[in-house]
Symmetry: D2
Subunit: 504 residues, 4 copies
């Protein structure tokens, strides 16, 4: 039956495979030797590497005995961990390449099962399901068992998280183009996703009473608005602030993703008022002044958990936590940086300059004002002045120039966030994160991050992604499935100003 | 009700579907694309069942968008859990059948990928790996996602453990012969194995200071030597005793597998001295009297975790724990019941009686002594007397008879444990468990469990499976791979006596 | 100056002490020998008792070196504890008598300081204060130091609590009339009061998750409404119930005073509905049904802490706790037993019978009804019938009799609670406790405790002492200082009915 | 301001109250009953101060009703705490003066009871005891109750500890000569001693996993060897180090006394090797390298607990803790600073210079060498050079000079520690502390603290006070009772060298 459909499928779509005989012949021809390219010599490698791997990576038990096999001794896992840690970067690459190539899927068995699955004689449902199950089993790379066993020894999960960080670095640095390495990465990601499933995570509120070890890590991991000292840190876990982290039983004392929240009256439009103002350090919270929760920083701490969704779940859990603490709280919003806006803008200006356009970006009136405000030397086009001003953050020193540039930069920034895409999704990663979570692109804020870093990165602009709790599911689906961004009137207004100017 | 219809359906499938040809014809007539036979009418089912499933089981995203799909709203999981819990036994079966059939693997896609995999044109490694990865992905049943998502909501993991218990009961009670149900069971077991991986389990020592909730459960779950009252329970967690359990972050307050240990001078040969003697209730442990750790009870508490190896790991962890508490402790052994020995013996006697043999089991002298001791009425053969004696436990009242039977029962029991096999492994499940763990079948103990239950189950005999820590790995592998049982001289001696008598 | 006033005081009130010379002479006459009566032979005592005491009870350092003295070695305390525990009841009495007599205050020094204090030459304030301080210091019994030191070793505080329980038993059983024993008791009570000061107590909520050890104790200590089994216990810490205890750092795992609370819609008028109804065992609390907190049992667990106020503070703390959990909760009340009412009533009837009155207690009509309902044999006066009925609880079997007796017993009971006094305070100890705390005697409830015990003790009547939080301070002061009982109209109405009948 | 008035008052009391006669006359004129001199105008005081005190300090109940008095409302305590905290330093003094004077002991009653006690008619034991008990009761200052009640409200104990710190400062700064203030101080100390009795303290080991709040305090409180940064702090709670603190249930999160221990092979002779060496920061402890526990810093954190013995008990508890962790550990010793040695030496040199002696301190040979090494200008005596060298720490720059001075400074230092006394006890407070605890003055170490501070304070010398556990009790008693210092041969040798030189 199945094979019937398959055969029809073959006929219609694969065209050349007309006869089962042919199929079988082809398969028989592919003897083991033909898969020899899998052992393409990777590199000489560390002496003894092969021996270690041969010893510690147990063969995949046969399908029949899969539940009857004793687990390999723990010493295997410990030996591998010890060995791996002793290697330098290059040898690590070499080891991972070997592991992924020589201890992966047994392709021959898989092919045989594929043939079996396509057998037109296969007529009963139970057999189909069983062959599929065998296929599924045999698509398991041999090294997957090693990874599973490592997870069971003390410190094993953390080891694997770090090993995946190595893999990701190898892949992104193009140190290896190996498809096997990507497979290994995929397998490991799959395992980590199960182990770091939300049901297994613990939400912890971090306070000044939390262990020093954790607070030190919170401080180190804070990437968005660096913590300057311990007083600063104390502030971020003190009154009118909340700091939450997900931790995992297998990685004690290690926050996995950290969310900083400010409790405010209104939705904040300025980050310095949150991270610099220490007036409230010893004050008691006045619950009547708390109407809004501002997520002003979210940091993942484990490179090796990339792609394992945690931040999204953390925000949801924290919202629930805050609602139970402050039943009347109604406003949830991020106050987010806009990394990449300035460099995008620089690129835009360069391009316009090259293409001799540029006039589109600003209105004539605006160009004039820029010229006047900058005393552009005759001959030097205003666009160059503008580029330089932005590159140096000089414009912030002149109130007049600031006033001129505010509408320009705001509409450009709105476009950058709303209109610039990568594979259809928002180019800006922070925007993409919050939009996936179902947030609304709610408000761009001028003079929101006046730190040198803030001015350099995004001309001091920050953005609120607001979480309307009733709409996040709908927004998330709209965005992920239809690539539709939900945005407020302010943002849409700025976008349309941009479009008008740019004649888009 | 439901089962009625199911049984009817089964009957018709068994009786009437005799002609595969007919079936095949019918199937071929159907449009391949529709795969209609998967929706073989299971039963009308609970009104709304289909709607609920259609709503809560999201389709599998395409391979390309698999990382781009928003998780379904939590309400899906909650709705399913709520709905499932509201069903009676029969409707549950109906629901699980539907779920496993209609929301499983998309066989058509799988077949197409199998064809693709076999394409001889496929010659580059990266493409092969990618097709394999697609295949692996598409072999994921659609319902697997639902299960994953359920695990993330509060109480979800416990729900799934209980749901698997239902599945196992369905399978073992033959309520359904469905291969899909078995597939669902396999998928769920795979997930549970990841979530209950040892790295995620927490070892807890249970004491009288532990929460009442846990102690009550420990008491209820104790299956081997039932706890009679709270004093009894207090004793089992008091001095000269240890009680350990694995717990899991996602099922707080729920011991998963419980191990009771007695700390003794010598390896115990009697269970009453452990569970009945209360002299030590308030005494302080004298470390000099502690040389041995006797595992006298191990209980799994979650039917739904069958096949997820926990007990084995628990024993290993506890050994390590005890070694760190008592560095000089050298003897580790179980004191185990032998469930099934008496009924096996009854069967044996029946068969011998039927076959008119029987004389082989006991020597002539022994038969004579039995006759004398029982005053067997002439004509009634001694074998009948023996059967009756054992069935009624009467023999224990006569010292003389006891003395006569001791060597007989001991060698029969040794054979039962050592020689009786199922698929090559020890028939007795307790033996099988400890032998898999690498223990040695060390000593049979006469008069070891003199409780009515102990006499009825195993003629009062118990057995020590001893853990020689240096040899457990080797023993475990020998047993699992070569089906070799490691046993002591005492056991082997008894076995050979049996063989001599039985002319084996 | 001081002596001036003293001298005036002497003149006016002591009369005979006219001259300091006389005073001094008197004192000089009282040489050490004259205090010989302090060593009145107590009893032969345990051999070695004197030696032990002499060894472990260090002498009081001189006032000057009081801060320069090393603490005695811990072994002293341990020896005393060990020794004391090894004694039987009689030897304990002997030891405590010796300890309190021979190691008490040095009366001679005290007298000398009293003389010094009265010295008319004492003219400056600092000297007066210093002499007073010396006097205060020398009024410290020598054994106080031993008690202090015992409190510092492990288990020492619990030892002292138990030792005080022994003292109280000695005193109440009149085993010793010794004033020294009473002094020792007073000293120990003073110390315990400091150590069990509320600031050092910890409020713990007891739930089914609390350690088994504590729950077992809670069960054992429950004196008011005995716990029948573990299901009953589980109920008392389950939904719609709260159980709180004070614990102390120096006595871990030992609840000191336990308060059971039922959360109800209305103020309960029946105890069985609280301790017998298990419907809610697994239900979830519906916060909308919780308007009242009913304190239905409060038990002190440590006899040795008699007179150290804990229960009062526990109620106050629990009220605060409940208010923070249920901000809208407005009704706080006890549902209290009335121990002693039945026996008081029996006494009353006997007396009336003897004095030939009795007619006052019931109205003529009531007497008639009693006679009719009981078919009193002619000649046997109704009062005898009534006594017998109450002694046997027989009256509860007759509805008619119950109806007749309800108004009678209610008004008698109201009087018992409100009108019967001991040294001006309520005779009934439960009433006295709640009135001291500032509660209002709020409502007598007929058919409130229908258990045999309840009927036997108080004819099934229970009473609510209600805590109107704004008024408890005022009520408490009124009661304690002016012996005024605050009561509701219901209670006052019943009282006045009683008074009318009794012609009081 | 206030102090101004106080100083004025003091002045007048010193200058003008010359004539006691006058005073006495004035006093005699006043009605004895009124005891008006207690209200010697302290100062006008904060408006409302009297009212507040009158309101919150309840009168002492009569002896008869002492157990019948309701505790004052908690609001009294809170009002007092709030009021006190709102005052500035001067008003605090004023308040405490008023409190201690006007709300102290009722001297009149005390006098009357003293008279009663001396009544020769009093001949029975029970009456004597009762009068003594009344006397004791009436010697309780009225404010003691207030203090007791404050201890019961949240934060009350900490408030009283801080209040006592204020009292101690007032007394030591001579801001008040009032005997009443000293009495108040004594009363409060007595209460604190009970509440901070060792049985109520909890030993906590501080690690990097301890709450940040505590670690920050540990860092701030470290007075002996200041913590420079968080890495330094991490080191002090890391491998080969232990940090213990006593905490108290009523002051959560507040370490009361902190002991830092280094785990070493030999008894350390140098502090920099302990507090500066970071090699071991991430290493694992090798238990075989741990033979000694060096107490290198002990700090009390609460000024208000002065005189309440904690440090002594902490050392004892820590020794027990370490013995249980390292059963074979045999060497326990401090490595202690010698504050005051340099200034004592300067004083000594000045005096010798003045008295023209000086030659005794050093031998002729030594003087010569000092002269040579310093190129003393002719005419300037070597003693001046030496004083200057030591004052400036200049001598450490010259190896030659160091070599010359080593024997000199070592024997002077030994004498300073061993021979210099205050009221018969060691003048040096650190020495006094350890000798009271029963330690042996074991070894002076040259070049032991080469920090500028160490050189300035004690010429870089440190000393080990060694705890021979079998002898500490004996040593402690010898020291405290007989003022005998137990010292090693090294120390005694240095002392005798000093004596020989000094012709003592």
């Amino acid at each position: 039956m199945i094979s019937h459909s398959v055969v029809r499928a073959l006929r219609s779509s694969v065209r050349c495979w007309r006869h089962r005989a042919v199929l079988r012949a082809a398969l028989e021809a592919s003897d083991v030797g033909s898969w020899r390219w899998y052992s393409t010599p990777v590199r000489g490698g560390f002496p003894g590497m092969e021996e270690v791997l041969a010893r510690v990576v147990a063969p995949l038990p046969s399908y029949e005995t899969r539940d009857k096999s004793p687990p390999p001794p723990e010493s295997n896992s410990l030996e591998f961990m010890h060995f791996y840690r002793s290697l330098d970067r290059e040898d690590k690459l070499s080891l991972l390449s070997k592991l992924s190539q020589d201890f992966g899927v047994d392709h021959k068995t898989v092919s045989e099962l594929a043939v079996k699955l396509l057998d037109t004689q296969l007529r009963d449902q139970a057999t189909v399901l069983q062959v599929e199950d065998r296929l599924r089993y045999n698509l398991t790379p041999r090294y997957k068992q090693l990874l599973s066993h490592i997870s069971r020894v003390e410190g094993g999960v953390k080891f694997l998280v770090d090993l995946r960080a190595d893999l990701l670095e190898i892949i992104s640095s193009k140190a290896s183009e190996s498809a096997h390495i990507r497979d290994l990465n995929g397998t490991l990601k799959g395992l980590l996703s199960e182990w770091f499933s939300v049901g297994l995570l613990r939400l912890e509120r971090i306070t000044w009473q939390s262990p020093c070890e954790i607070l030190q890590k919170i401080s180190q991991y804070e990437a968005v608005h660096p913590v300057r000292n311990w007083t600063d840190l104390k502030r971020r876990v003190g009154p009118y602030r909340r700091c939450y982290a997900f931790t995992h039983a297998a990685m004690p004392g290690e926050p996995l993703v950290v969310l900083h929240v400010a409790l405010t009256e209104d939705i904040s439009n300025n980050i310095q008022s949150i991270v610099r103002e220490f007036a409230t350090l010893d004050s008691e919270e006045d619950v009547n002044k708390i109407n809004s929760a501002i997520f002003y920083s979210i940091s993942s701490t484990q490179a090796g958990l990339q792609g394992v969704e945690l931040g999204n779940y953390l925000i949801k859990r924290v919202v629930r936590e805050l609602q139970s603490e402050f039943p009347h709280m109604a406003q949830f919003s991020s106050l987010s940086p806009i990394p990449g806006f300035s460099s995008w803008l620089q690129g835009l200006l360069s391009q316009y300059r090259k293409e001799g356009r540029g006039s589109d970006l600003l209105s004539e009136q605006e160009w004039k004002e820029v010229e006047q405000a900058t005393d552009s030397t005759p001959g030097s086009p205003a666009v160059d002045s503008l580029r330089k001003l932005i590159a140096t953050s000089e414009w912030t020193r002149s109130e007049r120039l600031s006033a001129v540039l505010e509408p320009v930069l705001m509409r450009l920034c709105a476009w950058y966030l709303y209109g610039e895409k990568r594979r259809g999704f928002a180019l800006n990663p922070v925007a993409n994160f919050h939009l996936q979570n179902g947030a609304t692109m709610w408000r761009l804020n001028w003079h929101a991050d006046t730190s040198p870093r803030g001015v350099a990165n995004s001309c001091g602009i920050m953005v609120n992604y607001r979480y309307f709790l009733n709409e996040t599911s709908k927004n998330s689906a709209l965005y992920l499935q239809n690539k539709v961004i939900t945005a407020s009137e302010q943002v849409l207004g700025l976008v349309s100003q941009y479009q008008k100017n740019s004649k888009l």
